[in-house]
Point group: C2
Chain length 339, copies 2
DNA sequence: GTCAATTGACGAAACGTTTAAGAAGCCGTA
DNA sequence: TACGGCTTCTTAAACGTTTCGTCAATTGAC
């Protein structure tokens, strides 16, 4: 079932059918209607692979998630897929390596399939050279969540530092002074921004964080559990509150505290970051900072398509609104501990 | 950068380079090595779109998730993507409509892009005609999780009925007699199998479930909350235990019970189904039945590729191992209520 | 030394589409 | 009548691969 079949049936040339199927002008009203009818009867649909070859651009976006099993990412993917579908694009989904780094083969494969644009989540700095080596210069790149400097790519994310400051301030307002930080990997721009935000707000309030109360761990629940245990061991007692690099760390830390017989938030307040779906469950009720993930996915597609239409646009950064969400894992500091 | 460029540089024909790049025989060892070297120097990679057009088959799988934001599905996607990558395939990701039904346009778009095979999760019966209308007969279809009868498609899932029986038996063994069921939509084969399994096991133990203790709701947390509320209202008191159609319903129900001042599992035991990631969190510790989602995704790819290689295989059903996971939301029935 | 079989390489057609360039018909005006 | 300017339609050349059929060169057997 090809253009040629429809053309034969309708008694016109292949070109005419092509013009009709692509809604191009220059076709008489009668023939257009006739072709449309025949195509419909025959169940004809354009072969997008052939179009892609001929035009040199495919209606396909490549999306690389850092880790698809991390509940943070699928909603971004949802936004990307929805916006892409509206624009008539398909989405190739891949994910990075287990260590959070980008897998060169994955990016290569995407390029082999002639993606029109590439969207990445949570790049790390060492991914930079890979991208410039592998991705053809005419393929737009959008990075979300994290940003690596100096690469040819648009960015979409939130003001992590501001969110972190607000969250730290929230704890300070609740009277906490003995505050620990379980930070995400400093290789991640988002994590280091958050850590910086925490530090700034605490410093402004005259609170200093001792080295043993400032731990760096990877962005998983297990890492959070281990870090919280280490916190308890090295300090000898629980902090009054803990600021975590993301929600998974926070949940892992809560696990650890509960296992030590501490209650949250009565004994220790815990705050996360991201507002993953499950943070809002009544069973958890985690205080956190929300990233508009679905909207970020949509916006990433807009950036990509805009640049596709106008390649010479200057590099752009879109910063979306975040929101401090106060729930049940943070509470007023105990009188005794607030000093 | 095309075959032609490499051929020119290596002083051989396009055909020869093609044979080399595809690891076909009939090329001398010296020329092969030379072509490989030149291709590497030039950074040449085959254009998969052109290959796809020429061969009529693309190295692409289409994956349609019922709902990407539902934490149940991304792990299936992870398995699919991993297995596909190993076989040199890319994966187009789409998702169904908000009502859980398949969107015809989505399937059409996937076919327009000449996917080699299509994998679906959680089809509903009314999706059947759509598939046979839209998907070309030479494109293998794999359905996972749920099965709709009579369509040209392989299936991969678990024995939902057996899992449900085991779970119900677990509650019976704990001494529960006043057991309610919050079932998923009966339009879903998985849900109705589970419901049937619950019923069978309860019936065998001589337990009958009153109509007001058997509610059907959709597979979301909110629906679970509402259903649990309705349960409490119409019955006047809490059941001793509740079997839920999936984990989300269970979590929603727990929410509702907690909101009514009941404790889980002291006042009421709750069991879910699926073992989504967060059911295992220490904050939840949900008793449930595990589906090996990652492996199901991988197996779906195997089925698809096998049928691609051998289209005349008889229809196949792969049933994977499930596992009853007993955690903290189910406990021995109170002496008083066990009657 | 001859001939058949094998190996290694090539030419060219095809896959289904897009699109530049051009032809045919029609209209109105000079 | 001749002609420029529309509109509508067609012809044909790509896009980058794969693969069939052919052929020259080499090998091995006699």
């Amino acid at each position: 079932m090809t253009l040629s079949d429809v053309a034969k049936q309708a008694g016109v040339s292949i070109a005419t059918v092509s013009y009709v199927m692509n809604d191009r002008g220059g076709v008489g009203e009668r023939t257009r209607a006739n072709v449309l009818r025949i195509a419909d009867e025959l169940g004809f649909r354009l072969n997008r692979v052939a179009s892609g070859l001929r035009t040199g651009r495919t209606q396909v976006l490549g999306l690389v998630l850092a880790d698809i099993t991390n509940p943070f990412y699928p909603e971004i993917a949802g936004g990307v897929i929805a916006a892409a579908a509206e624009a008539g694009f398909q989405v190739f989904l891949s994910h990075g390596g287990a260590d959070g780094r980008l897998d060169g083969e994955v990016v290569q494969a995407l390029c082999d399939h002639q993606c029109g644009a590439l969207i990445f989540t949570s790049l790390v700095v060492s991914d930079g050279p890979l991208l410039s080596d592998v991705v053809p210069p005419d393929v737009p790149i959008v990075q979300t969540v994290r940003r690596i400097p100096g690469i040819r790519a648009d960015f979409i994310g939130i003001d992590d530092r501001a969110g972190a400051r607000e969250e730290a301030q929230h704890l300070i307002d609740l009277g906490h002074r003995d505050i620990a930080v379980l930070a995400g990997p400093s290789a991640s721009s988002a994590s280091s921004e958050r850590t910086a935000g925490y530090r700034e707000a605490l410093a402004e309030a005259g609170i200093e964080v001792s080295p043993e109360s400032m731990l760096e761990c990877s962005l998983t629940g297990d890492a959070g559990t281990r870090a919280a245990q280490q916190l308890l061991e090295s300090r000898g007692h629980a902090p009054s509150a803990v600021l975590c690099g993301n929600d998974l760390i926070a949940l892992g830390a809560i696990d650890a505290f509960l296992a030590h017989g501490l209650s949250v938030p009565e004994d220790v307040s815990v705050a996360g970051y991201d507002d993953i779906w499950f943070a809002s469950s009544r069973l958890v009720q985690l205080t956190t900072v929300r990233q508009p993930r679905h909207e970020m996915g949509r916006a990433a597609v807009s950036l990509a398509l805009e640049r596709l239409a106008e390649p010479d646009l200057p590099p752009r950064e879109v910063i979306m609104e975040h929101e401090l969400v106060v729930r049940r894992t943070t509470a007023r500091a105990r009188a005794g501990t607030a000093a």
